[in-house]
Amino acid sequence: MLPLQIAWRFLTSSKGQTLMIVLGISIGVSVQVFIGSLIQGLQISLVDATIGNSSQVTITREDDTEYIDDYQSITSEFLNQYEDIDVVSYAIDQPGTLIDDGETNPVLLRGFDQERSNAIYQFDEKLIEGRLPSTDNEVIVGDVLFEDMNLAIGSSYEMNVVNIGSVMVEIVGVYDFGVTAIDESWMISNLGTVQSLIGVGDVVSRIEMQVSEPFDADIIMRGLQTDLGNDFEVTNWKDQNADLLSGLNGQSVSSIMIQVFVTLSVVLGIASVLAITVLQKSKQLGILKAMGIKDKEASLIFLSEGFFLGVFGAIGGVSLGLGLSYMFTKFAVNPDGTPVIDLYIDPQFIMLSAGIAILAASLASLIPARRSSKISVIEVIKNG
């Protein structure tokens, strides 16, 4: 491959110039890698914090006061048909008041199918004291409620529901979801506790799901709504978190904009430097053409230069970008030593950035490559 070898010699014969271009591309790529990893990390942790431990698609009855009695058959008939649904869990909720020594506090008694719901809420990980409920009338409460009301593990308290009656619940553990709204109000129990309090049979008020592609939750929702008909209402996290989504979108768009402009400036930089190189090397091109090199091969010299610059720029850029990311996680830290933002190093994204750099550099060299094919031997000879 003569054009490749000539390209390589051209690049290595002016090392300073080559190094500057490679550095230019590297900085561009490193900005891409760093910004990309930062934004992705930020989004993943945001999404995870928002929906990681909650229901992403939820089925309730259209009429809030009704319960779902055929939840088992809904699962086997419909939900199991969706491969994207990872977890299905059942819950029955009843708001009420927790009473202790005359002190009252509004709570939401949530009866869960313990085994299934643990896959969504990870109660076992959130538990900071005591144990999970194992039999009827055992509950766990959030740390906020626990402290506010000075509750004690192992003690029983009265929970009262207007117009229905009251039930004695025993607190067996304390959890911490890190979300005050939950930690001060949810009392978590099993299905049977809530069902018997309300005086209903084997029914639930919600079917909760987590899906493998959270951003496709709305598609699954629409499918389920069609399957189940108008008696049921299917909701998804995206509708309930529109603000977050538009924030994430804005972030993605600005991240893409940064990356596009960085790529553009890299392309323009390479194109202009290589265009100058064509002029610098016009004598060499002239003599090569006199010796019979074809225009296509002459162009290939500059395309190869672009490719080489792209490859080295990409290698340099990825290393620099990863280095920068590493330093960021080491130096931009919270008081407890954890990074302010957990970067998300996505090998696919990094490969893509490197690929774009190589492609951009090769494309940028198309202009000088075209120019090189227009160089006339006569002009070169005449001008000495």
Binding site: L2, I6, R9, A290, M291, G292, I381, G384
Partner: protein
């Protein structure tokens, strides 16, 4: 009688579209195989234009050029490139070596452009050519690390590498001192004798021109004088 390796029939070259300059006016010339011809003329006479047209680096406005019996005006750019690579060796005034490559790599360049494999045999030939031009000792030097005379001799070796039938030289000693000039011409004559290569050399130096077997003088785009060496000397 030797056959013609190059033939020009009614070749005209006009530059410009609005203001037309006729650089060559109806040139008819033929060059025999193994001949050694010099072309002289004042600057602007059209001699370089003529050489560039013979070498297919430039196209004539009118007329035909035959190289090895093939008409070149109908060939496309790629065919001309191949023809130049295989049949013609160029030596220019400003050596035009590739400074990024060593002397021997420059000499091998025409082979590599022709996409032939650089075999041991070819390397041997390149070394022989370096011997012929007296550069065996500096063959691994980068082009820029050689003297002007060495660079020109490298260019000569390179022109010979593909064993072309024709060598076209435009003022090959134009910027060399007189001793080196003499050595280079002796070398060219030696190659002409030993390798049976046809030479057409442009020069403005009458002394140099007199070394050739045939001397053509171009004046105002026309052949003014076309004589053998003997006739030329007698005329003087």
């Amino acid at each position: 009688m030797a056959s013609n390796v190059i033939e020009l029939k009614h070749v005209k070259k006009i530059y410009g579209t609005t203001i037309k300059t006729e650089a060559l006016k109806d040139i008819n010339l033929a060059f025999e195989e193994t001949s050694f011809t010099s072309i002289i003329g004042q600057s602007g006479s059209g001699k370089s234009t003529l050489l560039n047209i013979i070498g297919t680096l430039d196209r004539p406005t009118e007329g035909q050029i035959f190289i090895n019996g093939k008409e070149t005006s109908k060939m496309n750019k790629n065919e001309l490139s191949t023809l130049r690579n295989e049949a013609i060796g160029f030596i220019f005034q400003f050596h035009y070596l590739l400074p990024e490559f060593t002397a021997i790599e420059n000499v091998l360049m025409p082979i590599r452009i022709s996409k032939q494999k650089v075999t041991d045999e070819i390397i041997k030939r390149a070394n022989e050519l370096m011997d012929l031009v007296g550069l065996s000792k500096v063959k691994d030097n980068l082009a820029n690390n050689m003297s002007g005379g060495q660079q020109q001799r490298t260019a000569i070796a390179r022109a010979l590498m593909n064993q072309p039938k024709i060598i076209l030289a435009d003022e090959p000693t134009g910027n060399l001192d007189s001793d080196t000039t003499k050595q280079i011409y002796q070398l060219l004559r030696k190659i002409n004798r030993e390798l049976q290569t046809t030479f057409i050399i442009i020069t403005h130096d009458r002394k140099v021109a007199e070394e050739a077997d045939r001397i053509i003088e171009i004046k105002d785009g026309e052949v003014n004088v076309d004589v053998t060496n003997q006739q030329y000397r007698q005329k003087d």
